[in-house]
Symmetry: C2
Subunit: 351 residues, 2 copies
């Protein structure tokens, strides 16, 4: 076992969305399969270092420089602790661990870091503890920390199979095409959000419990996932685009039908939606597709060929000085060398 | 037959919405029953005068002072001509008619005038031609001009029965409680709309054709209509409020799920939605209910007791100088006296 292991992972953008959990929700088992591509780690990433900490009375987890309190109400952090405990036990290991995790994300961007964070942690722990778990097992563990994180355990284009079993052992993500397969990019328009936000965890539950319209979403999304897999395999952008946009609209419609209603799209999101339809209309076929997660940020998917056009369109709609990130397809989680460790002498001196 | 007949009617606000037509759409037959109350004619009204015009080569229809062109693409005006032709034929009448119709609506308010316009016209023609049609027959004719107009043929609280027959002879509106039954008001926040609008006629068709989620709306709305009828009969505002808000959200969700998506709500509409939820939360029970038609204007339903509170809430959210109309329940269409005729010597001189 090395003294310190450092891993890096990146978020993914869902082309068919995960919204609504089956069972009691605790295992993050989805009502439908979903598809994503992993974003380039050069644009957005989480780095996570793990080391033994025999001097500590308990595990210490630092996220972006802050020690995470133990006795707290953040479900996600509690879950991280549980997963660490379980993986350590499986490895027959007993020492307390020091986990240090930093996100490269622009501050206040509203871009979800839980997928890359969970993915980097599980990847690092597997190596550190010498567990040699396969990609399916790793994906299942990441899913339990944060549902869509399972899709960040692979690079390229990824399919998260819904699965049928109650224990979730058949609900994990697999690569359907590698990073090199297709030069699509996610052009991300960072849209300010001033209103209070419903956490996606609360949202999943509220929609499945109260939306009448949601009942028809799982079957629809399941079909969309199949269509997107085909479109990716055939590199058929026009086919991909329509399904991606309709699936996003469909999910946000079930959010509006939730009681009380959930709003993630704002006027700027809608202006971008309309600008994408206009751009595609002018081109005679779809060269761009918008998709929105649980927030107003616009993810406009396009191919490298049309990236500049799409960037210009976004700039025009969002105004000068707007923040736009261009994320190609990424390669998935990987180990970094000792010199990239976040657990430096400097770090240890300051904690 | 009098020389000139003048009638007045007012719009209605749907508590359960009409969205989506059955059949080929030409008869405006709805997929679900709906419920409304007619707004006070003191706040919003259409006045329509009808007179013989033997000197004219064809019927002349003036709306807000403008002669409506014959050879045109406006489906609604074409339909008005057809209805006039049909009613005249039924009366065994042959002279050409002069129809003059004026709306009292604030300019550019985005408030639909087609319901009050169709209602006033049908009411005036029935009297002018001496047809003595009953309220059911009048409602059916108004429905054919503009679906929701059939609900403006009665005052007070109105139920528009979906009906089952292909010819629409069982799809008409009836009063379920008179104006005096309950002192609810429609506090209307006029929200500016800067984007291009999808006409409701196009929208009805696009949603039924393309929205996957719409499939479950008719059954849901049908139940909502029953619940609202009960809530109105029992003057149970809290029960009314939840159904009204959910039905509006549900309809707008199917619009978002339409391909391409239809947006009527904007950030201001959403700010009002959230403010209503906050107000109700603070009060411990619902004292206000928002509902939105095919536009961003907020209709906040409340009782006379809470009207000031609701007006203040709207002013605060919309900012100073915002336009707010307060419309109590109205009495339905009625005839006006000769002195209210729009066909004056002055008018005839200027055409």
């Amino acid at each position: 076992m090395s003294e310190t292991i450092t891993a890096m992972a990146s978020p993914n953008i869902a082309l068919v969305k995960y919204w609504g959990k089956r069972g009691d929700g605790s295992l993050n088992l989805p009502n439908n399969s979903s598809v994503s591509f992993t974003l380039s780690e050069n644009i957005l990433n989480t780095k996570t270092s793990v080391a033994v900490a025999p001097d500590l009375k308990e595990d210490a987890i630092y996220i972006n420089g802050e020690l995470q309190p133990k006795d707290q109400k953040n479900e996600k952090t509690t879950f991280i602790s549980k997963i660490i405990e379980e993986m350590r036990k499986n490895a027959g290991f007993s020492d307390n661990l020091l986990v240090v995790s930093n996100n490269s994300f622009p501050t206040g961007s509203g871009l979800a870091s839980s997928a890359s964070g969970a993915s980097a942690l599980v990847f690092a722990l597997n190596e550190f503890l010498g567990l040699k778990l396969d990609s399916k097992e790793l994906s299942i563990i990441a899913r339990r920390i944060s549902g869509s994180a399972c899709r960040s355990m692979a690079g390229g284009f990824v399919y998260w199979k819904k699965g049928e079993l109650d224990d979730g052992s058949d609900s994990y993500a697999e690569q359907i095409a590698p990073q090199s397969h297709w030069d699509v990019v996610d052009m991300i328009g960072i849209v300010n959000e001033s209103r209070k936000k419903v956490s996606s965890s609360q949202g999943h539950s509220a929609t499945t419990k109260t939306s009448v319209l949601y009942k028809s979403r799982p079957e629809y999304a399941e079909k969309n996932a199949d269509l997107v897999v085909d479109a990716v395999r055939n590199r058929n952008f026009a086919a991909l685009a329509e399904v991606v946009m309709r699936d996003s609209n469909n999910m946000h419609a079930t959010m509006l039908d939730t009681w009380p209603p959930i709003r993630y799209l704002n006027d700027m999101s809608w202006d971008i939606i309309e600008a994408v339809h206009d751009l595609n209309g002018k081109n005679g076929e779809s060269i761009a597709a918008y998709t929105f997660d649980a927030g107003p940020n616009a993810h406009v998917i396009t191919t490298a060929q049309h990236a500049n056009e799409v960037r210009e369109m976004l700039s025009e709609v969002m105004g000068e000085g707007s923040r736009i990130l261009e994320a190609p397809v990424g390669s998935g989680p990987k180990l970094l060398s000792e010199k990239d460790s976040l657990i430096t002498g400097e770090f240890l001196k300051n904690i």
